[in-house]
Amino acid sequence: MRRLLNASPQAGGRLFLGLAPILAMVFIYLLASSARHAENPTDRLLPPVGQIAAAVQTMAFEADPRTGEIPLVADTVASLKRLAVAIVIATATTLLLGLMLGLLPYVRAGLGPFVATVSVIPPIAMLPILFIVFGLGETAKIVLIVVGITPIMVRDLALHVGALPQEQLVKAQTLGASTWLVTLRVALPQALPRLIDTLRLSLCPAWVYLISAEAIASDVGLGYRIFLVRRYLAMDVIIPYVVWISLLAVAMDLALVALSRAAFPWAHAPKAA
């Protein structure tokens, strides 16, 4: 018998093993749902599949007679817009600050402690301040996401850039590269794959801040909707929304991986034998 350490599943087996926990979760839900409904046909906590399907039909395929829009589409567009703007701002800031902090000792001495301090402030604690300063509109929500994810992304990228082998930086200088050219041609290209990785890890907190902000003050958005229908215990709406949010998050993650592989083949190239 081979050791468990050395046994690895084949492609088909891997697919099955990967799907098994998800299928098990769905199966357990169905069992629990039907058990509760056998006891109490008006149970709202674990709605049966038919009820969820009806809710999906109303939310995702029929226009709301009041607004004339399909709720799921309107919510998704609003949320993704906020997320996209915040991600662009956070990523650009991270790239700029991360490179400067990682490469330039003077910037590190000046801004390093500041960034380290800001990154330990719980962003949600700053939400009231943001609402007071920026009002209840889009700005406060976007700023919350930016404030929430940027400091950690900056620190991660600065660490990565700072960990570039000293040999490389010296070599570039012996080739005549100025500070600017070392940044542009040596540090920046090597920072980009890491920037994508750190963004991937920051997407989860970004969603948390987005949904928090929408839950507190908004009139459209995925987070707004689930916290709105929570008042009516509408699990048949909340569950598909949560599933939809996870699908969006997974799709973004996969897209970032694909982007990194396409744009930076050197970071994923096979090693010499």
Partner: protein, 260 residues
């Protein structure tokens, strides 16, 4: 040898606080010489190299390159090949070499276009051919073997036509067979380009095989109570004008044993 002095160390000291790493280093390196530097670990070989590279400034004394005081900063007049990490993983082999040309010719954009780009690429390809990498122009360094990466690092340094080429244990991580090929290559390039080379190595046979002069760094004096209070210097200085192969002098034999 009546060759002019390329590099001159005049009573150079390197100290960190009360720790003395190098003391009273005074020596001249003639143009066109191949100087091997050996010595036990912690004898200041690397500090000596960093001094020449400009990564470090002397705390006392002067380092002169062609009679002028060296700036304490790496520059294009001194090329370097380290044991590892000398090449840029995100550039193809050709781009690694072209980069040196782009730094000089495109200081703002860092990239050349059109005819200038083609000329630079041709120049770089010719340099890569000289180190035997004609077939690997478009591969990334991590797809190259260790020996080929070092060939690339040498081509990259030579494209700048440096006054001094510094080699920091360049063949230390290579297989014995590959190492022999690299010895032949570096000797050939040294002759063809009329290079002045400083090479730090742990391999004392390599030092005598390649060098026209061997410097052994060690402490001249030792204080058992405060070993850090005495620095190292070049305790042996062997000119090898006849280049007699395999002639490791008896004084250095113990050193060789320590390093093996």
């Amino acid at each position: 040898m009546a060759a002019p002095t390329a590099l001159s160390f005049q009573d150079v000291w390197v100290e960190y606080g009360d720790k003395i790493v190098l003391e009273k280093v005074t020596l001249d390196v003639a143009e066109g010489s191949f100087v091997s530097i050996v010595g036990p670990s912690g004898a200041g070989k690397s500090t000596f190299l960093r001094l020449t590279l400009g990564q470090e400034a002397p705390s006392r004394g002067r380092v002169l390159l062609d009679g002028e005081r060296l700036r304490a900063e790496p520059g294009p007049d001194r090329g370097v090949v380290f044991q590892r990490y000398s090449v840029f993983p995100h550039m193809s082999a050709l781009d690694n070499v072209v980069f040196g040309l782009e730094c000089a010719r495109a200081p703002i954009l860092g990239r050349l276009f059109g005819a200038a780009r083609r000329a630079a690429r041709d120049e770089a390809a010719a340099m890569l051919a000289q180190v035997g990498l004609t077939d690997a122009l478009d591969v990334y360094p991590r797809e190259l073997s260790g020996g080929m990466q070092q060939r690339l690092a040498i081509a990259q340094a030579l494209i700048k036509r440096p006054r001094i080429l510094l080699l920091d244990e360049p063949f230390g991580a290579l297989d014995p067979g590959v190492r022999l090929d690299m010895h032949a290559l570096i000797t050939e390039l040294w002759r063809d380009h009329g290079l002045t080379i400083l090479m730090v190595t742990h391999d004392i046979k390599e030092a005598f095989k390649l060098g026209t002069r061997v410097l052994a760094f060690d402490k001249r004096r030792r204080d058992p109570q405060a070993p850090h209070r005495y620095g190292s210097t070049a305790v042996y200085d062997f000119p090898l004008d006849d280049k007699a192969p395999g002639a490791v002098p008896a004084e250095l034999a113990p050193l060789a044993v320590v390093e093996e």
